[in-house]
Structures are given as structure tokens and as C-alpha cells.
């Protein structure tokens, strides 16, 4: 039963993953990305990672996807005129060849590598999942303390960087005294 559900969810994740790449408008692409994330969260849940499933839904589906949708709506890119004006896929032959070959080779190597993996005597899943929050917290505050602190600094730097990037720059005002930066 769980295995059947896993294969169904995998098929959904792959189909929606193709939808991300293949759909014409960015809105449809981002909505398929949302469906992919939800399918992956369900797969985490089936694999015994409850906390990761929750984090996936909260951070990806709840925060990142909203950011994507917000930008799409802000820039009003579902406009059909701009879609017609700029081809969304530029099908230069070299580009298609390079993309197909690199994606194909990467996928093939990864699939062959995965096939060569010896499954570890199919150890039984712990009854209440792998990632108990107590264990994660204990690891985060002991062995992974430095990366944990560094990620806080990363988030702060990101916040400031995004503010600087997205701030509307005021035009430079000139007065009779000369150039005055606004």
C-alpha cells in the first residue's frame, strides 16, 4: 500500500516536474512547481521524515512559492502580448542539443549509480520516523552549531541584499547649487 502510494506520488512529481519546464506561461510553471513540492513532501512523509515534510510544505510551498507568485503578479507577465513578443523557448539547434545531451547524460549517470547502490538489508523504519525533532535539535546545537550560526548570518545578509536590490532608486535631483544626491 505504502509502496503503491510512493510510485503514484513519484509519477505525479515527475509529471509536474515536466510541467514546470514545459508550460508556456510562468504562472502555470510555478503552479506545477507547487504540485511537485507537495508530492515530494508526501514522499518524505512516506519515507519516515515527518519534520522534513512539514518543513518542505512550510518553506517551499508556503514561502518560496508565494514569493514566485508575488513577483509574477507584480510584473504582470501572464500578458499574452509579451509572451508572443518574446519566444519563451529559444530553440537554437545547438542549445537543444547541449541541453538534451547534458540532461540525458546526467540523468543516465545518476540512474545507473542509483541502480548500483546496494540496498542496506532493508532495515525496518523506526516506529516514529527518522527525524525526531529532539534529535535534530541536539545535532543542530552541538555538531552543527557553526553552520547553524552561519545560516543566521546568511539570512541577515540576504535580507539586506534583497532590500538593496529591489529598492526603487530615486532619480538624481539637481539644484542650482549643483548635483545633490537624493
Amino acid at each position: 500500500m505504502a509502496q503503491l502510494l510512493f510510485y503514484l506520488l513519484s509519477a505525479a512529481a515527475i509529471a509536474f516536474g515536466f510541467g514546470v519546464v514545459a508550460s508556456k506561461s510562468p504562472m502555470k510553471s510555478v503552479l506545477s512547481l507547487l504540485a511537485t513540492f507537495v508530492a515530494l513532501a508526501m514522499i518524505y512523509l512516506l519515507s519516515g521524515f515527518q519534520f522534513l515534510a512539514a518543513a518542505q510544505l512550510l518553506v517551499y510551498a508556503g514561502a518560496i512559492l508565494v514569493l514566485f507568485l508575488f513577483v509574477i503578479m507584480l510584473l504582470n507577465m501572464s500578458d499574452l502580448e509579451t509572451l508572443a513578443e518574446h519566444p519563451t523557448v529559444s530553440l537554437g539547434h545547438t542549445r537543444v542539443a547541449i541541453a538534451t545531451v547534458s540532461a540525458g547524460v546526467l540523468g543516465l549517470i545518476a540512474i545507473l549509480g542509483a541502480g548500483a547502490v546496494q540496498a542496506s538489508e532493508s532495515a525496518a523504519m523506526p516506529p516514529d520516523g527518522y527525524d525526531k525533532i529532539e534529535w535534530i535539535a541536539a545535532l543542530l546545537f552541538s555538531r552543527y552549531m557553526v553552520p547553524f550560526q552561519a545560516s543566521a548570518i546568511l539570512l541577515l545578509a540576504t535580507m539586506i541584499g534583497v532590500l538593496v536590490l529591489a529598492k526603487r532608486r530615486r532619480p538624481v535631483q539637481t539644484t542650482e547649487l549643483g548635483r545633490v544626491d537624493a
Binding site: 505504502a2 510553471s29 512547481l33 541502480g115
Partner: protein
């Protein structure tokens, strides 16, 4: 009766290859960013598979799960910066079409 680890890895490989194809083929900056998110998710999935492979029911090795959390964090930061760049780009060029950016080609 549980999810096989190799099939998790194969699913991650397929998703990653899809993301690479989207990254190389699409010219809309938003869809390129979405493809990057897809690739990061594939990487997360293989971390989860690795975490399962290195755990037994007696001793759980959680390094993979911790790494997944850090990847999710970095992905959030990356999406925020990338979308801010898209907004700045749109203000400058009135488009998010990546082929419209060729100033550096010389």
C-alpha cells in the same frame, strides 16, 4: 513494505535531469529560477535517501536530514535574491527574457 531507497535515488535523478533541461532551454528568468528550485529539491531527495541508507532501526544517522534543512534554508535565500534580481532586471529592461541581456557579449 517500505519505500525502496534506490527508487528514491532514481526519482531524484529524473527530477534533477528535468531541472537541468529547463535551466538550459527556457529563456524566462522566472522559469529558470523554478528549474533551479527543482534541482535543489532533487538534491534534497537524494540526501533523504542517503539518510535512510545509513540508518538502522536501532541507530539513526541524521546527518542527511540536517543537510536537507540547510539546503532548504539556502534555497529560500537564493529564491529571494534571484527574484529581487528579476525585479531589478524588469525595471531596467522591461522584460525578463534572458536573451535580451547581451551587454556583456562585447
Amino acid at each position: 513494505m517500505t519505500v525502496p531507497d534506490e527508487h528514491l535515488l532514481i526519482l531524484a535523478a529524473i527530477l534533477f535531469a528535468t531541472g537541468v533541461a529547463g535551466f538550459l532551454l527556457r529563456r524566462n528568468a522566472i522559469i529558470v529560477l523554478a528549474s533551479i528550485e527543482l534541482m535543489l529539491n532533487a538534491a534534497n531527495l537524494s540526501f533523504v535517501a542517503g539518510c535512510r541508507m545509513h540508518s538502522t532501526s536501532a541507530a539513526v544517522n541524521l546527518d542527511g536530514a540536517i543537510f536537507t534543512i540547510f539546503v532548504i534554508l539556502v534555497a529560500a535565500a537564493e529564491a529571494a535574491v534571484g527574484l529581487a534580481l528579476v525585479i531589478a532586471l524588469y525595471r531596467l529592461k522591461q522584460t525578463v527574457h534572458l536573451d535580451a541581456l547581451n551587454e556583456l557579449e562585447g
